[in-house]
């Protein structure tokens, strides 16, 4: 099992000007922000990139204002949602959906799933490598057994069983947190 800094620990280190902590914080929440922009609000790539950068710029700028270090995750979620809505209301770029086209129930469900996915991702980080690498390549990067085997120097024929074992480890980690 890998020792992973809590969100609060990371925030505290960022406040002290620790660049490595900031890098880790961006890494930890980058997929979350990206998923909210793309999957929940279906922003076109240029709008998504602007919102993505604006979210982290505001997080960095206002880190001191955060009431509780543990609140970083809901704060980032709320900030991202607000900036996505602002972007859509301002017209967005070509290809942006009309904000009124977003079905509230569907949007809420997508956001809830993304939030749940981040919890699962945290468990995957806790399980550590090689499981993190294998599951990330297969489920998040859509790589084949062959590509994963080559990248990680493992026989391609063993990847399926490794994926299965790694999923069981993530499940155990999730259950351990319940």
């Amino acid at each position: 099992m890998t020792e992973v800094a809590t969100d609060a620990q990371l925030v505290s280190r960022c406040r002290r000007g620790d660049q490595a902590a900031w890098n880790e914080l961006v890494e930890r929440f980058s997929r979350y922000v990206y998923a909210i922009c793309f999957q929940a609000f279906r922003l076109p790539p240029h709008d998504a990139e602007d919102v993505f950068q604006e979210v982290f710029a505001r997080v960095y700028q206002h880190l001191e204002r955060l009431r509780s270090d543990e609140a970083i995750r809901p704060w980032i979620a709320q900030l991202t949602r607000r900036l996505c809505i602002d972007r859509l209301r301002s017209g967005g770029r070509e290809g942006a959906v009309d904000v009124d086209e977003l079905e509230p129930a569907v949007l809420d469900e997508t956001l809830a799933n993304i939030d749940e996915a981040l919890t699962v991702r945290a468990c995957l980080d806790a399980v550590g490598d090689p499981c993190r690498e294998i599951l990330d390549r297969f489920f998040c990067r859509d790589e084949s057994y062959k590509a994963i085997g080559e990248a990680l120097d493992m026989p391609a024929g063993t990847i399926a069983s490794r994926i299965s074992r790694c999923l069981a480890k993530v499940k155990a980690e999730l259950e351990g947190r319940s």
Partner: protein, 84 residues
């Protein structure tokens, strides 16, 4: 956090693909970029001709200083300059 099966875990993992590396890198560089912006603004405050150059083309001024002109960095520079 109970009731997860492997299929659900796999589906949830698939919801979080990585963003383009350049986006992540630019966000990670924010603290450094902000420090560099502070230096650029300080120079602009002392040198009116340099300030005019910066105001005329924020992106070019940033690039000339080796700072990546992402939208948030440009906006931060604009805010700093108009606040002064």
């Amino acid at each position: 956090m109970s009731g997860y099966d492997e299929q659900r875990i796999a589906a949830l993992l698939g919801l979080l693909p990585p963003p383009p590396e350049g986006w992540v890198h630019a966000a990670q560089e924010l603290p450094r970029a902000r420090a560099e912006i502070a230096g650029l603004v300080a120079r602009a405050e002392e040198d009116a001709a340099f300030r005019a150059l910066v105001v005329a083309d924020l992106e070019a001024a940033l690039e000339a200083e080796g700072i990546e002109a992402t939208p948030s960095v440009v906006a931060a520079l604009r805010t700093r300059l108009t606040a002064d």
